[in-house]
């Protein structure tokens, strides 16, 4: 099989890889979960309520309300990114996990797909938790306006896969752990700041808006904002289509990168 083959060589093995990751998480849950549970709450209070007092939005809504879709897009993004960049690299190079699995009937494509499904799972768990926090705070701050917001949970599979795949692409070409600082600083950070999570892109100059269109997080935030406010338009379908196409491309790139890395 060529490293550039488009059709992945998949089997139930991808699911076995997912199960392996689940088993490891069940061993490590104490150290893995606490940070992920506490951080979004801190940010809601610090940015939403602290900084929010000084922010006057043109739409008239409270800053913490504006921020909600961004939080729901951003933290799950980080969950996927950590799992499939740093986490995957440890499994690839430090622990030899991939090579151990390659000796079994599980294929490289199964391994990569299992990694992505796992990154997606972590991402979705994180998203569901933040939605729960937002809904719990609803009596005080109207963070969630529409019951359509529940659709975020199933839909978050798409950005989960996308951010996992982007990260795995980088992991497949990284030669040292220290190189991840490039990935975080040059790819993830700009996405974090300029993906429409913290301030509306509509008020920015035209070129910045065009740039924003190329940022995956922007489309996620747009989509989630529509669902949370209950005001869906055709443009949201466009966001979803954009995400699906780019996810497919990065899935393929992750497969190619890892096949080239693992098959000598």
């Amino acid at each position: 099989m060529s490293a550039f083959a488009v059709r992945p060589d998949l089997s139930i093995g991808a699911w076995r890889v997912w199960q392996r990751h689940r088993d490891v998480l069940l061993q490590l849950w104490k150290s893995e979960f606490v940070a992920q549970l506490v951080e979004p709450v801190i940010v809601i209070f610090a940015l939403g309520l602290g900084l929010g007092q000084f922010v006057q939005l043109a739409s008239g809504e409270k800053y913490v309300e504006f921020l909600t879709p961004g939080l729901l897009a951003m933290f799950p993004m980080f969950a996927a990114v950590f799992e499939c960049s740093w986490g995957s690299y440890v499994r690839l190079e430090m622990q030899g996990t991939y090579r151990a699995i390659m000796a079994t009937p599980v294929s490289v494509d199964d391994i990569i797909t299992g990694e992505l499904l796992w990154g997606t799972t972590r991402s979705m768990m994180n998203g569901a938790y933040i939605l729960l926090v937002a809904v719990a705070l609803n009596p005080w701050y109207h963070m969630v306006d529409s019951p359509l917001a529940i659709l975020i949970i199933p839909l978050s599979v798409v950005p989960g896969l996308l951010f996992s795949a982007i990260s795995l692409c980088f992991a497949s070409v990284a030669r040292a752990m220290s190189q991840f600082s490039y990935f975080f600083n040059l790819v993830i950070n700009p996405m974090f700041w300029f993906g429409g999570a913290f301030f509306p892109l509509e008020d920015l100059p035209r070129w910045a808006q065009v740039l924003g269109w190329f940022i995956p997080l922007t489309h996620v935030v747009n989509l989630y904002r529509g669902l949370i406010e209950g005001e869906l338009a055709l443009g949201h379908l466009g966001n979803l289509a954009w995400l699906l196409v780019v996810t497919a491309v990065f899935y393929w790139l992750a497969l190619v990168g890892m096949r080239r890395r693992l098959i000598e």
Binding site: S11, I12, G13, R16, Q19, R20, D23, V24, Q27, L28, Q95, G96, T97, R99, A100, I101, M102, A103, T104, P105, V106, S107, L262, I263, E264
Partner: protein, 307 residues
């Protein structure tokens, strides 16, 4: 046509213009322990990687249990048990979980796997540490666990890539003991090593590889008597002392001499070497010992040879 557990014909692996494996042919027979010996970089691990379908074959034929590694990778991998050079165990999981997770990759139902795992832990003397984290195990225990892991699916062929590299003598002997036990149970084994004593201990037949090619093939004892002689006399003598001795020895049939730095090696039949040893004035500088695979190996892979 007879079906061999492993059959390689003119096997080649190239990386760019470098031929890591350069036309290697061998068969592994049912139930035997077959060794691939060679120095680092000889192409041993590359051969193993091709057999285990993680490195594509550049040219030649390679069959495992009658299956073509190019076309039936998943099927080939399901009949192989691989013991890699490095201990790539799951450090966050317990000993037992490592085996359970691995059994799942082979699609073994859980209840079936669990019974096998307990038996395997007992066999490899790991039962008491079944719930310990892998990080807390000694090097020898980790190695035994890697071997146990390679056996979770009862493979037809166990493939071991330098199974005892980096172990202390006690741990090594325990691993050897377990491998002999497996051999007695009829497990077919393919083993690479650069430890000659390991090969002598375990292998029924072996090939010696060097720079991607096979130099010789045979049973360990036959190779020793063919290439090294049954006895080896090591003489520590300076260059000026050697001349008379070398002149004398050269005429004796079946005796070979090799000079390496400050030592003269005399290879030959027991009687001839003993007589020469008696000739040497200072017995503390003459050391007579049986020939071994290391002699075969060093003679074949070359060091200024004098015949």
């Amino acid at each position: 046509m007879q079906q061999y557990p492993v059959e390689a014909v003119g096997l080649v692996k190239s990386f760019g213009s470098f031929r890591a494996v350069d036309g290697v042919s061998f068969n592994v027979l049912d139930g035997e322990c077959f060794g691939i010996l060679g120095p680092n970089g000889a192409g041993k691990s590359t051969t193993i990687k091709m057999i285990s379908c993680v490195s594509p074959v550049t040219a030649g034929e390679l069959r495992v249990a009658g299956m073509n590694v190019r076309k039936q990778a998943r099927d080939v991998k399901s009949v192989l048990g691989i013991v890699p050079q490095e201990d790539n165990l799951d450090p966050d999981l317990s000993v037992r979980q490592n085996l359970a997770v691995y059994a799942r990759y082979y699609g073994i139902p859980k209840h079936e796997a669990l019974a096998g795992i307990e038996e395997s832990l007992a066999l490899f003397q790991l039962s008491e540490r079944a719930d310990a984290r892998v990080d807390d195990l000694s090097g020898g225990m980790k190695r035994r666990l890697v071997i146990a892991r390679a056996l979770v699916h009862a493979p037809q062929i166990l493939v071991l890539d330098e199974p005892t590299t980096g172990l202390d003598p006690q741990a090594r002997h325990l691993v050897w003991q377990k491998l002999r036990l497996l051999k007695n149970r009829g497990v077919t084994m393919l083993l690479t090593t650069h430890y000659m004593d390991e090969a002598a201990h375990l292998c029924d037949r072996l090939v010696i590889v060097h720079r991607g090619r096979i130099l010789t093939e045979g049973k360990p004892l036959a190779l020793i008597s063919e290439h090294a002689g049954d006895q080896v006399l090591e003489l520590r003598m300076d260059a000026h002392e050697r001349a008379p001795l070398l002149g004398e020895v050269q005429g004796i049939p079946g005796v070979a001499v090799e000079e390496v730095e400050d030592i003269v090696y005399v290879f030959g039949a027991p009687r001839a070497t003993r007589e020469i040893a008696e000739h040497v004035n200072d017995p503390s500088r003459a050391f007579l010992r049986p020939g071994n695979l290391e002699d075969v190996f060093l003679r074949l892979t070359g060091r200024g040879l004098l015949d």
